[in-house]
Symmetry: C2
Subunit: 220 residues, 2 copies
DNA sequence: ACCCGAATGATTGTATACAATTATACAGGG
DNA sequence: CCCTGTATAATTGTATACAATCATTCGGGT
């Protein structure tokens, strides 16, 4: 989607978001414009823009004339996102059946093939690559829904849970199953079987949730 | 939620958003920082912040070193939002059954009573008031879901379709039905009947969609 | 000792200045 | 006539300066 942000403001935005999501800051930590600016060697202006954007994303709470404070995301937030994603990814797959292009179908297949290739390397496979491919698969699917709105929401969710996602594919067992499920989803879309596509995509996320549950992201 | 923005940046943000949503600008119109600033009597700084935020909301597309362009929202976007809302409002009502507080229940009842009071005035009822109360009802329900995430998404959606919503309650017939449906939803939540609450909230939005369809917001 | 208040310092909000990039206009050559 | 290269203007990107608001500290009074 929006790839490399070569503007300073964009980089600052991504940097702070990354730091919040990765847990560098505590809840309610105060983010001072001057401090952040000096840390990254830029002036306050790009920092301010970034903080205002982060507020809109819900990662920062700004109190006028006072300061910006880290909101962070709780385990419940992540759990909620997955509960919603399981429904929305189902809808996404359903809509994709009617809107997906040849090119997108091929791209989905390609990510699957590349993923399998990575996994063939045995237990020493590169987590980075596999998670990136997983992200790519879903991103293409979002686009294929033909809905700017749905794609936007799901992309946001995807960014939010990036941290959790990383730890979710850690197990080789889960990674293999995930790819198998991607294949099934692609197959259903290819066959223009909306019902099955929705159900499979739905279950796909549910399986990830079961995995998360084992890692402490429990329900409430 | 976020009430009065007394900061300049906040006001500029809301003003531009309002102008985009109300159709003051055409698709792909270029938004020049200097021009906008002079129009509202402020400098470029608050305008820039506003534009960056609007980009995140998807209402503006920014091309680095080039400019900001209006994205606007199509009829399909609005339609998609309602399709998603019908599902998400259902989920919201379901979750609210478990999380709603006494206070929130009372507030929901109050908005209904006030709405009925407005409608009693006969055909000369105030559209402004009724739409505001409708918005209030849903806002409280979003909060009551107990999910920051879900509330955030639904609030965003709600803002997006503000224009369409206005025209959707125009008919007195629809307004009365809407209030009746709100009453039923509240009743189901009060009775802690998650199944019914979800279904009613779902259908509530569907009915609004049927109304929109008649007004040209057709499916694709 | 405790409380209140003015003065000081720190931080945000906004405006302006300057640098970098992009669009436009124009002149010259093919 | 059109195409191209360069100079000029316009616009965005960033930094800095100044104003407004909030926090803190210190001194006087009770």
């Amino acid at each position: 989607m929006e790839e490399q942000e070569h503007s300073l403001g964009g980089r600052v935005f991504q940097k702070i978001r990354e730091d919040i999501l990765s847990g560098k800051y505590e809840e309610n930590d105060e983010l001072r414009e001057n401090t952040l600016g000096k840390e990254m060697g830029v002036s306050r202006t790009p920092v301010r823009e970034a903080l205002r954007q982060l507020e809109l994303e819900g990662l920062v709470r700004i109190i006028p004339n006072k300061g910006a404070y880290v909101t962070g995301i709780s385990h419940k937030d992540i759990w909620d996102i997955y509960r919603l994603r399981s429904v929305l990814e189902g809808i996404c797959a359903r809509w994709a059946v009617e809107h997906i292009t040849e090119e997108q179908l091929n791209e989905l297949e390609e990510t699957i093939l590349l993923s399998e290739f990575q996994m063939k390397k045995g237990s020493g496979f590169h987590t980075e690559q596999v998670t990136a491919l997983d992200g790519r698969f879903h991103a293409v699917l979002y686009e294929a829904s033909g809905s700017r709105i749905l794609s936007h929401v799901l992309t946001d969710f995807h960014n939010y849970v990036r941290v959790a996602r990383k730890s979710s594919i850690l197990s080789e067992e889960r990674a293999r199953r995930s790819i198998r499920e991607h294949k099934q989803i692609l197959r259903a879309i290819w066959d223009r079987d909306a019902e099955t596509a929705e159900q499979l995509a739905n279950e796909h996320i549910m399986h990830v949730m079961q995995n998360l549950k084992r890692q402490g992201y429990e329900e409430e």
